[in-house]
């Protein structure tokens, strides 16, 4: 069992749901980024997704786009992300997932990328622009010791959800709505029904829900039909205003709600 799977299982067996937090690597500050990661774990994140900044993030809304652009302007690239990971790994062995678009990885070289990931004990990998259709030719069966996490969306039909579920390792990333990342005001019944359907189609898989989860209430609603939630834009928005205290409070309050 991988470290991601163990972490999820541990939370579920103790009656808690899982909280994964997305951070854009090197944002808002490159220097203090490792401390930020450690503090986010401390505040209650079970998993952290580190976003590799990309110039053209087509699945992201304005908040994450902006953070990505700022990080690139601050000199963040894949090599810097690995340097930061190396710093983080000196102080933490909690599960870390790299999330990034295909091009910077292709450009770095897939084999070098994967072997550096292994050295730095990266636990998982999410590439939103590598769907099922491109998965095998992109990875060329060279992935070892790392969970490749795949996404399902409200437009995926039942058969597809099953195929993605078979392929996805660690957990299945369930996109809550048709759309891009970013905060949303309400949780629709349609959305909850669909997540419930994914959960029932994939009884052996952990399902974490992402996109549009911004507060303890929406986290609670989505986690009632899944194994946990992923929070991104809401955190990035606070960080872009350098509101660190509020960031950690938000994370703690969401995790508290998931532990009731």
């Amino acid at each position: 069992m991988s470290r991601i799977e163990l972490t999820i299982q541990n939370e579920i067996s103790n009656g808690r749901k899982v909280l994964s937090v997305f951070l854009t690597a090197g944002f808002p500050s490159v220097e203090s980024f490792s401390d930020l990661v450690l503090n986010v774990f401390e505040a209650g994140a079970d998993l952290i997704e580190l976003g590799i900044p990309f110039s053209d993030p087509i699945a992201d809304g304005p908040v994450i786009q902006h953070s990505s652009q700022r990080a690139i302007e601050n000199g963040v690239n894949l090599e810097k992300v690995f340097l930061k990971l190396n710093e983080i790994r000196k102080n933490s062995d909690k599960p870390i997932i790299l999330m990034g678009y295909a091009n910077p990885i292709l450009n770095y070289g897939l084999n070098s990328f994967l072997s550096t990931c292994n050295e730095l004990k990266v636990d998982g990998l999410i590439i939103p622009d590598i769907p099922l259709e491109e998965f095998d030719s992109f990875f060329d069966s060279s992935v070892k010791n790392i969970d490749t996490i795949m996404l399902v969306s409200p437009t995926s039909d039942d058969n597809r959800i099953k195929m993605i579920g078979e392929k996805s390792k660690g957990f299945v990333y369930c996109v809550s709505v048709k759309g891009i990342t970013g905060e949303r005001n309400s949780v629709s019944e349609e959305s909850l029904n669909y997540i419930g359907k994914v959960k029932s189609l994939l009884p052996d898989k952990s399902i974490l829900v992402g996109f549009g989860i911004s507060n303890p209430q929406s986290a609670k609603s989505f986690s009632s039909v899944s194994d946990g939630v992923i929070v991104g834009s809401a955190v990035i928005k606070l960080l872009s205003e350098k509101k660190y205290k509020e960031t950690f409070e938000l994370i703690s309050s969401i995790k508290r709600e998931l532990s009731l």
Partner: protein, 397 residues
């Protein structure tokens, strides 16, 4: 008309190692539905007749193949013909693709149309077709392009389209495309996305190519009638590459016809300010496709430049990447200054003011013609007219 030996893309939407569907999961099902609908309709008698009649009555097809007598005399070498896509309604070849896709949208039952635009030609064509069919039209356009293509912005608004300024990245075509993709992911239920070039995820590069192929199909018939033989050279400018593919594809199995695509060298290939993707790019994954891409050492997509807004794009259609690697098409580049000179040359010899994009193809005559002889034939795809560029040209001169 098109012989069957060239079979691209394959069933996964790949042109060799290029192409594919590098998009978020939400778009996979809509792309499949679009592909199924297209494959069914492209051989449907009613669909074909409706599109043909639209082209005849609304676009103004077939467009003429004009013998450029004084331009030919100017060089004193091969005979030069111009395929007059500038005479299409809305002033460029873009309408060929838009009308095809509007009919697709109609058959798919989508009432809301979105598009991206660079120079504004594709936006204008889309706004035009939406007005004609009574569909809601939203066009994404980079702020930089809005500034340099004001008349086209006004045209779109006049025809009832909503033009949304894009403020992210380089604020040009690539960013407008990102924003259109984001809109589509969000509103996929009722919205059809009309991509303006042979770019993006499968099946778009195939669909846009097929709709633009009318250019080459007509050209072939017209030159056979006029000269009783095929041309020796075909020239077309390449940004995303739709007018070029449209001209080249119906000749793809004719090796005796040399096909040449011309990219924009901007301020020079030795500077960072160009968009000669096929000359200076390398493999990348961008906006749903694998293709040659202008990128930095870390895989970030470069901010590119050309005096012509329609060529100002860091990627290129995946089929062009394939055709380059297979040596089926040759690619060269032309800088800003040469393009401006070509605008003057065609204006003064033929009384035709070409678009700045098209001018890149015309400028290549300076390199090609000296090598030709009087019994050879060159055809340039005159992809658009230059009215939209008058401000830019005045500033440059």
């Amino acid at each position: 008309m098109i012989k069957s030996s060239y079979q691209q893309p394959d069933s996964k939407g790949k042109f060799g190692r290029f192409g594919g569907k590098f998009v978020p999961e939400t778009l996979i099902t809509p792309l499949k539905q679009l592909e199924e609908a297209y494959l069914r309709l492209k051989n449907d008698k009613d669909f074909i007749e409706e599109l043909e009649s639209l082209h005849k009555e609304f676009t103004g097809r077939p467009t003429p193949l004009t013998f450029a007598e004084r331009l030919t005399k100017h060089y004193g070498k091969a005979k030069i013909y111009l395929k007059r896509e500038d005479l299409c309604h809305t002033g460029a070849h873009k309408i060929n693709n838009v009308l095809g896709q509007i009919l697709l949208a109609k058959y798919l039952g989508k009432r809301r149309i979105i598009a991206e635009t660079g120079a504004g030609q594709h936006g204008v064509a889309t706004a035009t077709a939406c007005a004609k069919f009574g569909l809601h039209c939203v066009v994404y356009m980079g702020e930089t392009d809005i500034e340099r293509q004001k008349p086209n912005v006004f045209r779109m608004k006049l025809m009832g389209a909503e033009v949304i300024p894009v403020k992210s990245g380089s604020r040009t075509l690539k960013d407008a495309t990102n924003e259109a993709i984001r809109d589509w992911v969000t509103n996929v239920e009722d919205t059809h996305y009309i991509i303006g070039s042979v770019v993006g995820p499968h099946p778009y590069p195939m669909i846009v190519r097929d709709f633009q192929s009318i250019i080459g199909i007509e050209t072939r018939q017209q030159i056979l009638e006029r000269e009783n033989r095929l041309p020796d050279y075909l020239l077309a400018c390449v940004g995303g590459g739709s007018n070029a593919i449209g001209m080249f594809f119906p000749f793809i199995n004719d090796p005796q016809v040399t096909k040449i695509g011309i990219e924009a060298a901007g301020k020079g290939l030795d500077t960072d300010e160009h968009c000669a993707t096929l000359t200076k790019g390398r493999d990348g994954i961008f906006q749903g496709m694998k293709t040659y891409l202008l990128q930095d050492d870390f895989g970030q997509v470069r901010e590119v430049y050309s005096i012509s807004a329609g060529l100002d794009y860091p990627g290129v259609g995946p089929e062009h990447s394939f055709l380059k690697d297979e040596n089926l098409v040759e690619y060269f580049s032309i800088n800003d200054k040469e393009a401006i000179e070509a605008v003057k040359l065609l204006s003064q010899t033929e009384g035709i003011i070409p678009a700045l994009e098209t001018a890149h193809a015309i400028a290549y005559l300076n390199y090609l013609l000296p090598k030709t002889s009087a019994d050879e034939i060159v055809i340039i795809n005159l992809s658009g007219r230059g009215d939209k560029d008058l401000n830019t040209i005045m500033e440059f001169l």
